[in-house]
Symmetry: C2
Subunit: 429 residues, 2 copies
């Protein structure tokens, strides 16, 4: 992500901060400010603007200005920008680049945004196994890849990845040591079509500064640097948060997202869950007589179904997150289920004791019994549903993160109404 | 996090994977396996075990074995282990280390786990400004800091941090270039007592391979590497997920957490929210007559309050996450509030149209009107509460992440019952 030449650190304000500041300014001011920067700084700041702003500015630039900007950008940032432009504008933009840079950009653009290929860069350090440490350092001085990509020197055999050597080891080794001797001969790598989240989690799991990306035949095609991996992981995590609350994944930044986009991403589950809630409504209709006879039962309804939903949301969220970080696997389900039973039983008893005095106060001894017994069953059921749903979804190859709090709540509501009034019928009626 | 000498990459299975595999084995087998490894590999694998397992194994080791292990560990991993031991065991452990390593460890242990000092390492590269590029490389060869820490050479003046030079620039520079000429004279850094999340977000924001950590007087005391920052950020994010569903932050891994711990972290909010739900119960009691007269109103109660809570949870979660990543600030509130009003109005109208036919079917025209009107108001109110709560909490210096779905739901429940039956009274009674 650094400019091709010159150091970001020359400047008093970091490119990131300038980009954030520009993001809050008026569009015309931004255009002027960007145009006034020296070209390397301009590329560094521009690459850090939000996608929406990049597109707006690019469309307002002259063809020459855009070409000048492109020539100063890193290949992965260039590819990102090109990918955002309309087909015609993209073709013109690429045509204006020098052939080598255009070739890099086109290789990168070919990959879908959500894949390893979509977050890699073609700016990396790679040599053959017989290169010496001294030759490697000379090569690095000539080619000058970006800072993060330089941290691992990749070793190739006829273009195929066969090893990786930390830059540290190249520096520490005698001048005549060969890369083939220094290298890890089984370097962790990822396929170019692999999910970007898988790639990002590899980087995190193995503390990699750089993750090489290969084609099916083993040919090296790019690398994912730790900072780009972290950025991808943060985006995936934000999507998980959104799913937790039944918002469909939003690709824009929240500040930039428009009213229409937010509406579409939120209305789907809100409407779907209405139909889930019909079950609880039907249950209440079925027990109409009981409600009319013991109307105080209704006072506790929100309390009971909320508690059940909350307990379920707790379980579900803990599991979904643990599964996403790879901490928990499907094979853990039985052991964790037994533990959840114990925890839920404890929670259920506690909640029953909390709510019993309220039941006593508002409706008398028998109502207290009904409410307490229901609370205990519902907390237990809600927790078990909440814990199991992510595993079930995963077993059927669905995204476990769909097991959101609201979904679990809706399921336990329908069941909860049945349980509540059945217990009430048994005790009171 | 790498061993002091020898490369992790010598081994067919990465230390991380071996650690994960051991974590699922029987304790005795684990002890045997660990003891059978060559010492550097042993240290690398041990450091990656869960804290619970590290403590159990350390307590079962002989004093000599533990000392041997400690001598091979990186200073930050050593400090982490020492911090986990009981006071007496820690004293013995530290006493058995050689003085230099003990001093490093003690400096690190002094810092609380949730601070920058708690995730830094003392293994870094630092020289004075008049050192040349050649001298720097020689110094790096002698001192051989860990891979990640080597990426930035820190420049000191009498122990105080005055600059930072990427290793890349040291390599690219002529042999006689001085660090003072190459350096960024305003390097991003963090105070040793600063929150670890703040430090981790600095690393993410500026794509830093290494973040220097300083005392109040500017003296350099350690660095945070990008991988340790990523790990800290993942832990903080997991806590945010837990707060989203009203679980108090759990410091253990989910697989290791015991029944008692899970119970304590979940029961607090479950019980607290019961008292929040008393308001909805009281509201229902107040409108007892209405319920008895128009019992079909009760059929829609779960549906209405769930939808309100869901809409609120959506808003709240979007805001909490955006505030955590620094994308949204308190000053954005007004603009985002207006946008939320528009989105919520759209959602409210849609939901009202979805639910009107149901109201018609189950209760007739007037009930349909009541239900639809209530749905619209509740979705609007729920969204506004959900969006505002994180900002309000932040304004009062509380953690915005406390604005969980369940909390927002409980608040909108109480309001919702009042709104529902008030509208019903106006239309029907």
């Amino acid at each position: 992500m650094t400019a091709a030449a010159g150091s970001l650190e020359d400047w008093p304000m970091h490119a990131v901060d300038e980009a954030v500041r520009l993001g809050r300014m008026d569009r015309d001011e931004v255009s002027q400010r960007i145009a006034s920067l020296p070209v390397d700084r301009r590329a560094a700041v521009f690459s850090r603007l939000t996608p929406r702003l990049q597109v707006d500015l690019a469309e307002a630039m002259t063809r020459d200005d855009l070409a000048t900007l492109g020539a100063a950008m890193a290949p992965d940032d260039l590819a990102d920008l090109a990918g955002l432009l309309g087909a015609e504008a993209r073709a013109i933009f690429l045509a204006d680049l020098d052939p080598e840079l255009r070739a890099c950009a086109e290789r990168l653009i070919a990959h879908a945004a959500g894949t390893a290929g979509g977050i890699m860069t073609t700016d990396y350090a790679a040599l053959e196994a017989d290169a010496t440490a001294l030759e490697t350092l000379d090569s690095l001085r000539r080619k000058a890849p970006e800072e993060a990509a330089m941290q691992r020197v990749l070793v190739l055999n006829e273009g195929r990845l066969v090893g990786a050597v930390p830059l540290r080891d190249v520096i520490l080794a005698p001048d005549d040591a060969r890369l083939g001797e220094l290298m890890d001969a089984a370097p962790i790598h990822v396929g170019v079509g692999e999910d970007r989240e898988t790639a990002a989690r590899l980087v995190a799991r193995y503390d990699l500064p750089v993750l090489p990306v290969v084609e099916d035949d083993g040919r090296l095609v790019g690398v994912i640097t730790h900072d780009d991996a972290a950025r991808a992981l943060a985006a995936e995590t934000t999507e998980d948060f959104q799913k937790t609350s039944t918002v469909l994944p939003i690709s824009e930044t929240i500040r930039d997202a428009g009213i229409g986009l937010l509406y579409r991403k939120r209305v789907v589950w809100l409407a779907l869950l209405v139909f889930g809630n019909l079950f609880s409504g039907a249950g209440l209709a079925y027990f109409e007589e009981m409600i009319l006879t013991y109307v105080s039962l209704v006072f506790f309804l929100p309390l009971l179904i909320d508690s059940s939903g909350n307990a379920g949301a707790q379980s579900a969220t803990l599991m979904v997150r643990a599964m996403a970080t790879g901490e928990v696997e499907i094979s853990d389900w039985t052991r964790l289920l037994l533990r959840e039973l114990a925890v839920a039983a404890g929670l259920g008893v506690t909640m029953a004791l909390v709510v019993a005095p309220l039941g006593l106060w508002r409706g008398g001894g028998e109502v207290a019994l009904v409410v307490a017994a229901t609370m205990m069953v519902l907390v237990l059921l809600g927790s078990l549903v909440g814990m199991s749903l992510p595993f079930l979804l995963s077993r059927f190859k669905l995204d476990p993160a769909t097991a959101s709090g609201p979904l679990v709540t809706t399921i336990s509501d329908g069941v909860g109404v049945l349980v509540y009034f059945t217990i009430a019928t048994l005790v009171l009626g």
